[in-house]
């Protein structure tokens, strides 16, 4: 019910509607709850509305954290022989 699906904005029309690509399937989405978006950006879509712009920076930050965990693991296994 609270499912949110990420999609890429293909185009934006004047009446706060965007065409959003969900991995090949395109749907019209309202931008009224999330107007500060640009074509090419990613949004989280729920019941026909973009509810948040997905932050590339934060996504990269998560990946960086995963990388750190991986590195700390590799170090610990090397130390442990």
């Amino acid at each position: 019910m609270c499912l949110g699906i990420p999609g890429k904005i293909v185009s934006i029309s004047e009446d706060h509607l965007a065409e959003v690509d969900f991995g090949g399937v395109r749907r019209e989405v309202s931008l009224l709850l999330c107007p500060e978006v640009e074509v090419g950006g990613y949004v989280l879509v729920h019941v026909g509305f973009a509810i948040q712009r997905l932050e590339k920076g934060e996504a990269l930050e998560t990946l960086k954290l995963f990388k750190e965990i991986e590195e700390s693991y590799l170090e610990s296994t090397q130390e442990g022989g």
Binding site: M1, L33, G48, F49, L54
Partner: protein, 362 residues
């Protein structure tokens, strides 16, 4: 999902699990509040991969599951009135009221329609101007802003045949009610990602401050959930009880202010009844006085008596984390996804449906 991400998942999940094992200090019970987390946890097999003594329990985070049968009955009774078209989300169609469901009513000729967006309900009202179109609105904070926009859009278009039967609920008051009963031992919360996209971090702070428990707002990929558990364990190891955000790519500290504004413009909090949890103060949403003309509960006399939830069904206890689906005498016997008795078996995000489908995650 792109192949690189899959590869990362394959490599990183065992590492995160190893870190989790290193930090774990069992026995620990973490509650995932959100039904989408429940499904993701079962689907990815996380429950069976965690070290022994770390238990994940499902909470009251599926809007379909927490809707009492009496409210379904009221919506069904409205759909039976002459000239009424009832519109709702697909998740509700199979949920049993005390004697029938929307699906059964539709099969018998009722004008009941499913929409993917609340704006579709407004379109139906515009097209069917000779009928009274009632949108049965179920959902948490994730969905309420979209419903609020639909209400404003119906007003903007000057529609006089669009009504809302609000059955919306708010998550933080339910968590407070759950913690206040003290009936279930919880050592930390995996907090709902998409509700938090709207409300941000602030409304959960009481969990840490008043109840001394850690919480992590978590995303829905398997790696997100593992990292959320890792962050909970780290807090416990360091003696902290804070509300942290793991799902930073979507959740902002302050939530979505525009969504909160429109929600506040159209709705106000009201005491609401939850299946299993009873009446919780200020945990529901009704239309503000300004929009009272669209309120179906005021505009129609609803010919329906309040009836109890089905006998023998343990959905109430399951939603509070007090019982597990296999504890229910009806589970898998009288109650199956094909012929459900309780909503936790109907909803794709219900714990019973997850247990039934994935065999308890074992």
């Amino acid at each position: 999902m792109n192949p690189r991400k899959r590869a990362d998942e394959g490599k990183l999940a065992p590492i995160l699990l190893r870190e989790i094992s290193g930090l774990a200090d069992p026995p620990l019970r973490f509650m995932e509040v959100c039904g989408t987390h429940t499904m993701s946890i079962f689907c990815s097999g996380i429950r069976s991969l965690l070290p022994e003594g770390i238990e994940l329990i499902s909470g009251p985070g599926c809007p379909v599951c927490v809707t009492p049968a009496g409210e379904i009955d009221r919506a069904i009774a409205l759909s039976q009135l002459d000239g009424v078209t009832l519109v709702t989300f697909g998740d509700l169609m199979w949920v049993p009221g005390s004697s029938t469901s929307f699906h059964q009513e539709k099969a018998m000729g009722g004008d009941i329609r499913v929409v993917l967006s609340p704006l579709d309900a407004v379109e139906i009202a515009q097209e069917e101007h000779g009928r009274k179109v009632i949108f049965f609105a179920v959902g948490f904070e994730t969905t309420s802003p979209a419903i609020a926009v639909a209400v404003k859009e119906a007003r903007r278009r000057g529609l006089v045949n669009f009504y809302l039967l609000s059955s919306q609920r708010l998550i933080p008051p339910a968590m407070r009610a759950l913690l206040s009963t003290g009936r279930v031992r919880i050592d930390g919360f995996i907090l709902p990602g998409h509700v938090s996209v709207i409300i941000g971090r602030g409304p959960y702070l009481f969990i840490a401050r008043e109840f001394g428990l850690p919480g992590v707002i978590t995303g829905f990929e398997a790696l997100d959930i593992l990292e959320g558990i890792y962050m909970l364990l780290r807090q416990r190891r360091e003696g902290r009880a804070e509300i942290e955000i793991q799902y930073r790519r979507a959740v902002k500290e302050e939530g979505n202010q525009r969504a909160l504004e429109v929600m506040g413009e159209v709705f106000e909090p009201v005491d609401a009844r939850w299946r299993g949890l009873g009446l919780i103060p200020e945990s529901g949403l009704i239309l503000r006085e300004e929009f009272a003309g669209m309120d179906a509960s005021r505009a129609f006399v609803i010919p329906c008596e309040d009836k109890a939830d089905p006998p023998g069904c343990l959905c109430g206890e399951i939603l509070q984390g007090l019982k597990s689906p296999p504890d229910c005498p009806l589970f898998g016997k009288r109650c199956t996804p094909e012929d459900p008795v309780g909503p936790c078996m109907v909803s794709s995000e219900g714990s019973c449906a997850a247990y039934y489908k994935y065999g308890g995650g074992q």
